[in-house]
Assembly symmetry: D2
Homo-oligomer: 240 residues x 4
């Protein structure tokens, strides 16, 4: 069993069954007493829970399979949060990456991806903020993308939603930053995950390894309260 | 009657009954044969139509009152466009500016404002692009905001949606720019309109006058085809 | 002879004998009473002067060949300005574009290009600001580049200096914007000039035509005093 | 004596006698075999050297007091580097923060601050890159500022030079990133150092503590080679 540091009480993580999310769950488990893991895949979530309990017998771990790309999923997730006494760290990691031409992008594509990439993060951040405000303390880590700053062909919905997420991060910082809520925006480039496999014209083997990225992202959360990592862009070292 | 230059065939303008939109309608009328004006207020639209017909007897002017903050409104607008043979210039001017704290922002606020500020521009741009691609030529002018780059307290939804619009503009440029569709992103600061009256802590009389702004925005559309004004930020000269 | 509008008293233009500068000189001449043209090439400057006098017999036109890539040139230019009673519009157009690898860039390359691309604009803007402050009115137009935002290989000095110029524009706006001095930052992509011929991997014939660009840039200066065009990026429409 | 990890061979650090630099020297010493410390204050440098030798008896530590705000200082620093066989990590930390109105900024102010804030980092980065290219491996950490993105009144020179540094970081990444040289740009806000004491209208006690910041900055260097932290902005948590 790994040594445990309980600096954080409760962590809420979305996209916990995904390639990056599962690594984040693993890495953050050392640092908190309770974890709430939302994800699409129930089996994966249960496996992760089992693994974490084995690592840290004292940890409380709640899991819920929720499809955040639907209105009803977002509502369910919000209800889930409402029941919690506290959420000290929220990690908005869930996201969908559609590779589609503008002409072939439907209203449904748009609305679904905006639910998971933006409306869910917004509503969960709002709900968790209410709890954080009581403690005058909390961290929201938003997983953005290089697409939060630029746009490539066939990723119009993704780019737009990740731009929106960046705007949201700035807005939370501007409005709640002086009340103890620190919003961190991390924008990684392509990652060696299922999502990364959809990326065209780039060599998969050069992509960021999720484990390394997760280590770094968790370190952002653990920085001294005296400072805040506002925005960080991370890329693969593309020379290999 | 004012001298008329018919450089552009058909223009589609949203938010045409608003403070900036009505000025844009007026200024662009000199340069096109046909105008399609979408707006919230039917009476205002009819008045504008009458005024434009008086100015330019030869112009064709279609108006439709559609609430773009609803899914059904966006769908109606898309249908409206589908019926047109061509749209040479699309101006995404409609928008809503909510001043609301994060904690008081509901899912409904979010979804409504994203419909008018982002989903409508996206779906209309997509639909018009299909027509423009046939002519290998077209202009989409997106009216962004200084909130496309920064965020102030109590404007989280607006900032996020205007960031999304900026992402969309970049995506259209990246994907359709080499096919003759020029996407222009104009980001004005506070304007002397109803919307501008909601802005806190700034002196209204120093805001940009909509007529001056409209003149400039139309000039962006009329630039030589050899070049494209990608992004422009416009502010009030705040020294008065 | 072309109709003349004397809205502006004195204009100072650097890089006036260059590809873009000579077009700017031509276009602005309609709008001012007096022009001060700085450039590298004396013969070109005299030819431009002759042409402008022919077009507008009433215009006063002073020319000076000064090498702004040297400390002594910057000092000479500043002295030149000191003698003027007023400068209402300053256009910082002079610039050098070095295509050189980092490893082959010498201290001399660096210092020379920074003199023409940044120190000259800074010192001239400062000097002209003193005069503008007396009238509580003035415009500084800085010609930036797409390299003010991104960097391509073999253009490290150019990119850095154009980033510096952007920083300078923001600083002038922040400090002197509320005293009537409007700073405009225009960032064009590749232009069909001698400088543009150095650009690698892009088709010259698709580059922005200097005449079209000059027209647009002058229009930025002529906007209503009520507003200011803070930053604008212009690109070639690359679909041809 | 503290446990030592020799992952890095030689580190070159500028500004080593300053508030942030001395912390960086201390924190990086655990990770390298040899340190080259450049700074303004000889006594401080010698004290730091003594302290580091006490902590890690095996470390090689060279110090040199060089004034990088002068051409001759930059040349001396470059010569110093030329003598080294290798530099694996370069940290460009030296910098000067002038608080001065535009009108009162002289050519000398400009040229001096650009030497320390930009020309020294450029020339040292170039020189170290030559060595790094032999090993196909190296890290350049540039200490930027929030002034690399925005500008406040009375900081025109600082903002411009820090914008230039950002442009340089992008240029190195674009040109040498695929050859194993990773350029990291870290942009902290106000820090509790002598330099920070010059900042107006902000509460000093809320500024970032240099020790915390140094820990974070060193962690950026120690990330897995698979990825690179391109740009990161760090701010004080301003709610205290």
């Amino acid at each position: 069993m790994i040594e445990k540091k309980n600096n954080i009480h409760t962590v809420l993580l979305t996209g916990a069954s995904g390639g990056l999310g599962s690594e984040l769950a693993d890495k953050i488990s050392r640092h908190c007493k309770k974890m709430i893991l939302l994800g699409k895949n129930k089996n994966s979530l249960l496996k992760i829970k089992k693994k974490l309990k084995k690592k840290h017998s004292s940890i409380t771990c709640k899991v819920a399979d929720i499809d955040l790309s639907k209105k009803i999923g977002v509502q369910k997730a919000v209800k889930f949060v409402k029941k919690e006494k506290r959420v000290d760290v929220l990690i908005n990691c869930a996201g969908n990456f559609s590779v589609k031409s503008i002409i072939n992008s439907s209203y449904k594509d748009l609305i679904n991806d905006f639910h998971i990439n933006f409306f869910a993060p917004f509503m969960l951040s709002k709900e968790c903020s209410k709890k954080m405000l009581k403690f005058k303390r909390g961290i929201i880590l938003n997983i953005g993308s290089s697409s939060s700053y630029i746009a490539a062909p066939n990723t119009s919905i993704y780019s737009s939603s990740k731009h929106a997420l960046l705007g949201m991060n700035k807005a939370f910082q501007a409005e709640l930053g002086n009340k103890g809520i620190r919003s961190i925006f991390a924008a990684p480039g392509s990652i060696q995950t299922k999502m990364g496999k959809k990326v065209k014209n780039q060599k998969y083997s050069t992509f960021i390894e999720p484990e390394n990225l997760a280590d770094f992202l968790i370190s952002l959360i653990l920085q001294n309260e005296n400072m805040i990592i506002n925005e960080v862009s991370i890329n693969r070292a593309n020379y290999k």
